[in-house]
């Protein structure tokens, strides 16, 4: 049993197309089988609503009098990119306000713009003979500019990972707030409603596919950046007319200590052209797997404790090494469902038609890591010998060692070389000023440490965050194997 786009569109026109959401399709195929579904069902709608950092909009303001060619411009104090013609710009959702920083960013500008709010435009120029104006400070609404085009280079990940944190401190990430010692877990994506998961071979999805985007109509214009189909991490490059979208489906968000982003509502209709598509669109949460990834390790290739399906992710608690870990989503299933239902209504009402892609998305590209020409340096490459004193020694011994070895940091250990603390030359100075003579009272016992294989940049960040100038290097048995100080980093 096969159908064509033409046959399906004919049914949509006549108001008798049978449309189900991808969530409803799971049940339908379970009850009726793939054969019946392929014959009876014409379209399956999908939806997702989550943070999509690679989003932004092209705007054209029209020309001022006298004309200006922007060099720098700001929308509500958020720097927009200008590298095109005089009054074009691109406002990216993760760019944060120069004034309000984490509280307000490009994503919020887009939400405010779509909501019809007035946006302040400030810009300047080095001036040219044809564009003599040096400065602009004005206000506009979306109806008062020429074009406002949402154009997102990477949206709608086929699936995304589930984030946990093994480290001993709370992490603030683009995957939300992650509590230490696997205290919680976060995932994104709408599981069985996820657009690309319902057509994983991109049979019906490609350049030109008409979709639901931000409450209006959009188009897929190619594979997204970092498109990684071989690992089921496909992505989409999409565009759509912002003027016809709704602020309900484009929401600016702020992640504490990470930055701003934009929640994008996106839904794709999948025509059931054959039995294969009926089977694929019936995929359930139970059959969709992703990886749990440990964000406690600040490297590109983070440890993956295990694989997990969306059914377990959506059950509120997941099992991690025998521990019950509370898990929640960063994306809204309620809105994903609403998007799939809205798209379904549009098709049933005969206002939305399906079209074959001009070109299908690639299924064989590979996502490459960044080529870094400078070799990554590790702590072991730059560490030096730690000057060590025992915890029970006299404060004078420590002072003498600081002078004889010409260092600022003395690592304090027990006789087995286990780290007990650190003493700086400033600690000794303070001890003298306060007339303290016992070593124990001046040792810093809660020591921030590093390890041989930590990248230098991460060690430097630890020093900066803790406002300290040295980190003892310890091995897996917590024995001291060296020290790295801010001097080595310069």
């Amino acid at each position: 049993m096969t159908k064509t786009y033409k046959e399906i569109n004919e049914k949509i026109k006549n108001g008798n197309a049978v449309v189900l959401t991808a969530e409803e399709m799971v049940k339908y195929v379970e009850d009726n089988g793939v054969k019946v579904a392929a014959k009876e069902i014409d379209v399956v709608t999908t939806g997702t609503f989550g943070p999509m950092c690679s989003s932004g909009a092209f705007l054209n303001f029209g020309h001022s009098d006298p004309p200006i060619k922007f060099e720098h411009l700001w929308l509500n104090d958020v720097h927009a990119y200008h590298g095109n013609a005089a009054v074009d710009c691109y406002i990216g959702c993760t760019r944060m306000s120069d004034v309000r920083r984490f509280e307000y960013g490009g994503g919020h500008v887009i939400e405010d713009l779509v909501a019809g709010k007035s946006i302040r435009l400030r810009g300047n120029s080095y001036t040219t003979d044809c564009y003599p104006l040096a400065e602009v400070d004005t206000e506009f609404t979306i109806d008062e500019i020429n074009q406002a085009i949402l154009c997102n280079p990477r949206n709608a990940y086929q699936r995304y990972v589930c984030a946990v944190n093994s480290s001993d401190k709370t992490l603030y990430t683009y995957m939300g707030k992650l509590l230490p010692h696997y205290g919680n877990a976060h995932y994104t994506g709408a599981g069985c409603l996820n657009p690309l998961s319902n057509d994983p071979d991109y049979e019906t999805i490609g350049i030109g596919t008409r979709i639901f985007l931000g409450g209006g109509i959009g188009y897929i214009i190619g594979e997204g950046t970092q498109h990684n189909p071989t690992n089921q991490f496909g992505t989409l490059f999409v565009k759509g007319d912002l003027k016809k979208m709704s602020a309900e489906y484009l929401r600016g968000v702020s992640y504490e200590k990470y930055g701003t982003s934009l929640f994008v509502g996106l839904g794709i209709p999948i025509p059931i052209l054959n039995e294969g598509l009926a089977r694929k669109t019936a995929i359930s949460d139970e059959e969709l797997f992703t990886d749990i990834v440990d964000y406690g390790i600040p490297r590109r290739d983070r440890p993956i404790p295990r694989r997990i399906n969306y059914k377990e992710l959506r059950s509120e608690y997941i099992d991690l090494n025998g521990k019950k870990v509370k898990c929640s989503s960063l994306s809204s299933f309620y809105h994903a469902r609403k998007i799939a239902n809205t798209l379904k209504e549009w098709i049933q009402e005969g206002t939305f038609f399906l079209n074959p892609p001009a070109e299908n998305l690639p299924t064989d590209t590979i996502f490459k890591p960044m080529k870094q020409t400078l070799k990554l340096k590790f702590v072991k490459d730059l560490k030096k010998k730690a000057e060590i004193c025992y915890e029970d020694c006299d404060i004078k011994v420590v002072a003498k060692k600081i002078i004889s070895e010409n260092v600022n940091h003395i690592v304090i250990t027990d006789r087995e070389n286990n780290l007990k603390g650190i003493v700086t030359s400033f600690d000794i100075t303070k001890a003298i000023a306060n007339e303290k003579n016992d070593l124990d009272s001046i040792i810093t016992k809660r020591v921030v440490t590093t390890f041989n294989d930590e990248p230098i940049g991460n060690a430097a960040r630890k020093m900066r965050q803790n406002n300290i100038s040295a980190l003892p290097v310890i091995d897996e048995n917590k024995k001291v194997v060296g020290i790295i100080t801010s001097e080595e980093l310069m």
Partner: protein, 131 residues
Amino acid sequence: MTIINISIPFGLVKDIDDYSKIVNDILKHDITFNILKFSTGSAGINLLLDIPEEKVSSVTESLIKGNIIVNKKGRVIVDIDACIDCGSCISLCPTDALHLNNEQRLEFSYERCIGCLLCLDSCPRYAIEEM
């Protein structure tokens, strides 16, 4: 284990010994417990304690006798209009006061909130505020 939120009013703790006494009084109930959070605020010292469920009433009783305030009620409000039902806050809520309802919309059960405030900086819409 059950989490309770206690406030030690200003004046009750003048030094480390006063503080140790309060902790020891809790330990007298023959329990091990975790201090999940220690903070100081306008009301005094705020502690989030994780204690065995069966000891909640006896521990609460003795704390109240020692003039310590046991907050049973919530201390946050959720602005449902700003909320986008994403769920980022849910994994941080130790008592399920923040949860999704059958429609998958966020619901806040005020009576279950113990005011731990772990959710405060988890909301990408600033929809959760301290009362």
